[in-house]
Structures are given as structure tokens and as C-alpha cells.
Symmetry: C2
Subunit: 203 residues, 2 copies
Amino acid sequence: MGAVTAADRRPKQDRSRATRQRLLQAAVACLAEHGWAGSTVSVVAERAGVSRGAAQHHFPTREDLFTAAVEYVAEERSTALRALFPQSGQGPAGDRRAVVTALVDLYTGPLFRAALHLWVAACNEDQLRPRVTELEARVGRENHRIAVELLGADESRPGVRESVQGFLDMARGLGLANLLTDDTARRERVVAQWAALLDEALR
Amino acid sequence: MGAVTAADRRPKQDRSRATRQRLLQAAVACLAEHGWAGSTVSVVAERAGVSRGAAQHHFPTREDLFTAAVEYVAEERSTALRALFPQSGQGPAGDRRAVVTALVDLYTGPLFRAALHLWVAACNEDQLRPRVTELEARVGRENHRIAVELLGADESRPGVRESVQGFLDMARGLGLANLLTDDTARRERVVAQWAALLDEALR
């Protein structure tokens, strides 16, 4: 048999990558909808239309699958957010209110819900805890970096770093308030007010 | 047999109340430590040193026990908080920073951890969801009322209500950030900065 060429390998790699992405997206959706107790590799494989064996080839353990899934979707969201505000932080902060709203949106969708289920499960599962702790730190740092960038915040000024951090903590709290009920109307008023306060603080 | 007098009944009522309180406190501690999956009426009864039958006499269902427990401990904390700042909201807001710190503390201890486990479990348990939704609204309103009172916030002024709400959302987000790691050092810096922003907003 002849050597396998790059052209032969490409489609197989593409298929493998596509399968992996389908699994990751299905895992986040599953976690958001059914919580940790209802989220197993089998359930996700079925949802993604992938065999259980193929799923386990990509993700040997349940912890592998769900931590990778939250990280993957968080990265996707970050990329989308940066693409939404390509000019931010460079000119005057005219669209700071829009940036604040978009950042809060990071915490009120299925991704936050999935991450929350994972965090809470990690409190009581020894195998999950160190991985989720590390993941949370990584995603937290990345979200902070994006916020600083898009808000055009000058962290060399005293208090600015803490203002941005507190704002992201508020966004996380707003995500929690949206867990059992639709908190949109109240959230919009809170975000409008704090966008103005944050704008003052960053000036 | 003669009629039971009030004096005869008193000790029995006292014992019953003491048993109830022990169960409620044990339930919150259990939920905070072991999460919803590890928290049953039997586990709590054992922790409280009460028979399973007695526990079920007080709380017929698991949902009864844990929602009552979170509500009871939340009320205890509110009362303690009000007692800590008897003069607040009356004079100049000199101790606003201390009030802000005490309010944030509401969200970083075992009570918040227990409530969080209950909220997240309620996402996927139909019997729990309506009760926890109602409980969350009640506790949320009470915490808002205390915050307004202790901060001496004048809600008739535009934006003040939303400033206080956003601050409580931040406190909730800080509670979440403290779930898997000890976030105390970062939290203190964030709270110091946001206490100053809030003070400006309430002036």
C-alpha cells in the first residue's frame, strides 16, 4: 500500500473535528437543559448523532467531555464578542453601553447555565473539582481581558481594575437571577444604571 | 384525666420548636456541604439528632424541609444584620462601607451555598421549582429592603433603586466566585471600590 498523502488525511481530520464540535455543542446544551445529574456521555452522544464509542474516543471520561465543552463554547463566545466590537477601546467610549450589554449577555444564556451546573456539581465531586476550578480561572481571566479591551479601560489607573471585576461579578449575579425566572425587564434597568456608573468610574 | 393547662403544654411546644430549629439548621449545613443530591430528610435527621419519624412529622417532604430551612436561616441572618446596624440610614452614611461589607457577607457563607444548591436543583426538579422560585423572590425582596434601609438609600430618586439592585447582584456574583476557591482577597478589593461607586450613586 502506498503512503497516505495529506489530501487523503484531510477529509478524515475534518470529519473528526466536526464530530468533536458537535459533541461539545451538544454537551453544553445538555448540561444547560438537564443539569449535571442528567448529563452523561451517552445522552450527549445520542443528541449529537454520534455513536457512544466515537464519543468516548474523543472524550474518554465524562469530566473530559463537559469541561472541554464549557471551555470550547466560552472561546466561541469570546471570539464572537470581539468580532462584534472590532473598534472598541480605540476611540472614545461611545458604545460602552452596548459593550456592557453584550458582556452581561455572556452570563445570561445557555453557556452560563451549563457552566453553573458544572461549578455546583464540582463542589461535591472530587474528580471534577480541580478541573472546573482551573477552567473557571481560565475563562474568568479571558472574560476580564475582553471586558478591559472592549470597555477601553485603563487598568494603570487606581480602582479601574476593581471596577471592571465588580462589573463582571454583577453580570454573574444577574445570570444567577435569571436562572429560574425571566429577569430581562429588571436586568435591563439595572444594566442601564450600572453602565452609567461604570462609565463614570472608567473616565 | 383533667384538662391540659397552658403550663402543661408549654414545655412540649418548646421542645417541638427546638427540634424544628435543629432540623432547619442541620438542613442548611447539609445542603451547603453535600449539595442537593446528598441531602435527604434522613441525613438531616441524623445530623440533628432527631428520629426520622419526628423529622417527617415536622416536614412531610424533602422539599418542605429544605425550602423552610433556607427561609429560616435567611430570616435569622436578616435579623442579625439589622441588629448589627441599629442606627443605619438615619444619620450621615458614615458606615456605608461597613454596611456594604456586611451585605456582601450574606452571600459568601454557608447560607448562600445552600441556597445555590437549591436553586440549581430546582432547574431540573418540577416539584421543587415553583417553591424555590417563590422563596427566592421573597428572600430577594427582603434583602433589597434591608439594603435600602441600612444604606439609607432614597429610592424616590431616579437610578437609586437600580444602583442598590445591581450592588446586590454583584454580591450574588461574588458569592458564586467564592464557591470553589477562597476569593476573599480579590473580593475585598472589589468591594472597597464598589462601595465607593455606590456611595457616589446614593449621594
